[in-house]
């Protein structure tokens, strides 16, 4: 295993451009010919994504040997090579490419079954392709500007996809909410990029180490915190997490795509990519925010009853865990967990979608005993749940334990907090599993008995993801000598399985499982009677998501709307009134004078009256809607400006 020591070579491969270009091409095709393609339109998207996956896999050999693949086209030949369209693949971005293309392909296949019969089928797959294309562009970009382009496109596509069923007002509102909330983060990212360019004059990712040496720590902290703000928006970290649970209004495959493979991963990827810019102080912020999100979302997930919402909060929680890893400075661990999480979380979402598709219900209270009617879905959901709980030796175990190890190394207390989080994870995910698939069918609701196994086109992709949920973690396991970490450039890896950590995390998972069974399914009280009021208060707090939405509504949105309304009122009453009044006075004056002139001086002073009338009309010009008066302003502006600017 000496390839890690081989000198890094940068190869130029033009086919790199095809990775984002294929889905983009599919988008264009579907946009213009979608109606004509009809039922065949999903295949266009699947083929494009599979093609991108193929190219990604063909690069694997090169990348695993420690080489970089890059290609760039001149864009603006101004002063610096900054302004080029450059794509590059190293270990980090290859991993993301693999995750996005493989899971994107699976989800596109699955959507073929899930979206079957939807009137806007081809439009859905067009958006899906554009989403993947922009995500791939984001991942492949070799400098901030292109990444930002992809970043914004991802935001746009998520808006389009979340509000895909825009006939539902909640879906439209959720799309807006996602767009606006992530926009707050995007603004931070843009400011960070501008600040970086302004101070360091360098936007290439490969030069970040040099930039770090060049800039003062305070400035670096500011830039990295701004970048993290963008990442927090996309990865839905506290306090910008509110959009993600609402985004569940979109079609379930979209939830799987956004919450597993692509959009939320973008934030983690961004931080991992720009980690050289992060100072200890900003890493502390990342760690704190990640930990808060991890625990906060975990407790909320324990109390929700909508299966998609539980999965959404579980995603938040897992993203928090990745941010914790990033905060510890261990980007490879975060990326490893991102990869395994992508598989099992996509599988969980697709399983949930399969349940919703079959039972037409997504409240835990209306579901039960589905294992008999949907054996495949149940088995795959079980695999994903076990994987997420971090049980040896599925994927989730390897990635979660790597983070636990790193935590123990840096802050021993953090290990215990994270173990608590792991127990919570097991508890909420098995609560979902047990109540959906085990127990008895709820006959009196009339929904569940009609349930049937989903069609092959939906089960097959799920099975593929199930293989990933079982085996993807091996890539980072000591059994295979951590090929993944070598890929990501990490050399200090733990050899062999750490037995205490294994034992503790198993204990935590067992604890969570017990909790899920006793409280979640049997609905028994664990607390002594004296503490029950406090417990139920805490429960209500978590069930209402800690009232964050309400707080935002009360302290941000309401005052803002009030302010806007106040300004509108001021505009209408005071300013419009003033203009109207002036106009009316002018008019009145004009009429008066005209009458006076006609009566007294008759024809001689008619011109004066017309002047005043013209002045009155000019004062009213804002409200006339008459083009000639606008043109008059334009001409006057031209005259004045050219007179002023004349040399």
């Amino acid at each position: 295993m000496d390839h890690a020591a081989a000198p890094a070579v940068t190869l130029t491969l033009p086919q790199l451009g095809w990775i984002p270009a294929l889905p983009l091409l599919a988008f264009t095709l579907l946009l213009f010919f979608g109606r004509r393609l009809g039922r065949f339109s999903p295949w266009v998207a699947v083929a494009a994504l599979a093609g991108a996956l193929g190219i990604t896999l063909s690069l694997a050999g090169t990348v695993f040997h420690g080489h970089r693949v890059a290609v760039s086209w001149a864009w603006l030949s101004a002063d610096a090579p900054v302004w080029s369209i450059g794509l590059s693949v190293d270990g980090l971005s290859w991993l993301m490419l693999f995750v996005v293309t493989s899971i994107g392909t699976m989800i596109a296949l699955y959507s073929m079954g899930y979206m079957h019969g939807d009137p806007r089928l081809s439009r859905f797959f067009a958006y899906l392709s554009l989403f993947c294309a922009s995500m791939l562009l984001l991942v492949l970009a070799d400098h901030f500007l292109l990444l930002y382009v992809g970043w914004e496109l991802v935001g746009l596509c998520s808006y389009l996809l979340i509000s895909f069923w825009f006939e539902k007002p909640e879906a439209a509102a959720a799309g807006r909410k996602a767009f606006i909330t992530t926009r707050i983060g995007d603004t931070g990212l843009l400011l960070g990029i501008l600040l970086l360019f302004w101070t360091a004059h360098e936007l290439h990712f490969s030069q970040l180490d040099a930039v770090r040496a060049h800039l003062s720590p305070g400035l670096l902290t500011l830039i990295s915190v701004l970048i993290f703000l963008g990442a927090a928006g996309k990865s839905a970290q506290i306090p910008l997490h509110v959009w993600l649970p609402d985004a569940m209004e979109g079609p379930t495959p979209v939830s799987a795509l956004i919450h597993a493979a692509t959009m939320v991963a973008a934030g983690v990827y961004l931080v991992a990519r720009t980690l050289p810019l992060f100072t200890p102080e900003s890493l502390q912020i990342v760690l704190t925010i990640g930990l808060l999100t991890h625990l906060f979302a975990g407790t909320v997930a324990l109390t929700q009853t909508d299966i998609k919402r539980i999965l959404a909060y579980s995603t938040l929680s897992q993203l928090g865990l990745m941010m914790v890893a990033l905060g510890l400075g261990a980007a490879p661990l975060a990326m490893f967990h991102l990869g395994t999480h992508a598989f099992f979380k996509a599988l969980l979402f697709l399983g949930a979608g399969s349940v919703i598709h079959a039972a037409h219900a997504q409240e835990l209270g209306q579901l039960g005993g589905l294992r008999k009617t949907m054996p495949w879905t149940a088995a795959l959901f079980f695999i994903a749940a076990v994987s997420m709980s971090g049980l040896f030796p599925l994927s989730g175990f390897w990635s979660k334990d790597a983070i636990l190890l790193a935590a123990r190394h840096d802050h021993p207390w953090l290990l215990w907090v994270l173990l608590g989080g792991a127990a919570m994870t097991t508890a909420y995910i098995f609560r979902v599993y047990l109540r959906c698939f085990e127990g008895t069918a709820k006959d009196h609701h009339g929904a569940t008995p009609h349930a049937h196994e989903s069609p092959m086109i939906m089960v097959l992709p799920m099975a593929m993801l199930g293989l990933g949920a079982i085996g993807a973690g091996l890539a980072g396991s000591p059994w295979l000598h951590h090929p993944l970490f070598r890929l990501l450039g990490e050399t200090h890896v733990h050899e062999g399985v750490d037995v205490p950590i294994l034992a503790w995390s198993t204990v935590a998972a067992a604890l969570g499982l017990g909790l899920a069974w006793v409280v979640g399914v049997q609905q028994r009280y664990l607390l002594p009677p004296a503490l029950r009021p406090l417990g139920s208060q805490l429960y209500r707090l978590a069930a209402n998501k800690y009232y964050v939405d309400e707080l935002y509504d009360r302290f941000l949105i309401r005052p803002f709307l009030d302010l806007a309304r106040g300004l509108a009122g001021f505009d209408q009453r005071v300013i419009d009134g003033a203009v109207n009044g002036a106009g009316r006075v002018g008019w009145g004056l004009g009429e008066l004078k005209a009458w006076f002139d006609q009566a007294v001086v008759d024809q001689l002073v008619n011109g004066l009256a017309r002047t005043v009338r013209g002045a009155g009309a000019t004062l009213r010009w804002i409200q006339t809607g008459i083009v000639q008066q606008y043109l008059f302003v334009v001409v006057m502006a031209v005259v004045v400006l050219s007179a002023l600017l004349r040399r």
């Binding site: 409200q623 006339t624 809607g625 008459i626 083009v627 000639q628 043109l631 008059f632 001409v635």
Partner: protein
């Protein structure tokens, strides 16, 4: 020096056209004023073509005449349509965009 005096003439034509656009209320009157402006531009082109011996300038004067024909045709079609549907030929009566 005819160059400068003819420039004066074309400026005057142009500004009269602007004045017409600003004041005319009849849509056809607007079209007439636009023709004045286009003629001023064409006159400028021909003048410079003569003064500098430039061939392309004359070609562009030719293009201007062609485009003026297009503009007149479309404009008149719009006016006739307008007179049928909106029952008016006055530009300021067409204010559906008024806020």
């Amino acid at each position: 020096m005819p160059v400068q005096s003819l420039l004066l003439l074309s400026h005057a034509l142009f500004c009269l056209g602007i004045y017409g656009i600003l004041t005319r209320r009849h849509a056809i009157g607007l079209l007439l004023s636009i023709e004045l402006i286009l003629n001023a531009a064409a006159l400028n082109f021909v003048l410079f073509s003569r003064a500098f011996g430039h061939v392309q300038a004359q070609a562009f004067a030719l293009f201007i005449i062609a485009l003026a024909a297009c503009e007149a045709v479309v404009g008149l079609a719009i006016i006739i349509r307008l007179s049928r549907t909106a029952k008016t030929v006055f530009a300021d009566h067409v204010d559906l965009l008024k806020g």
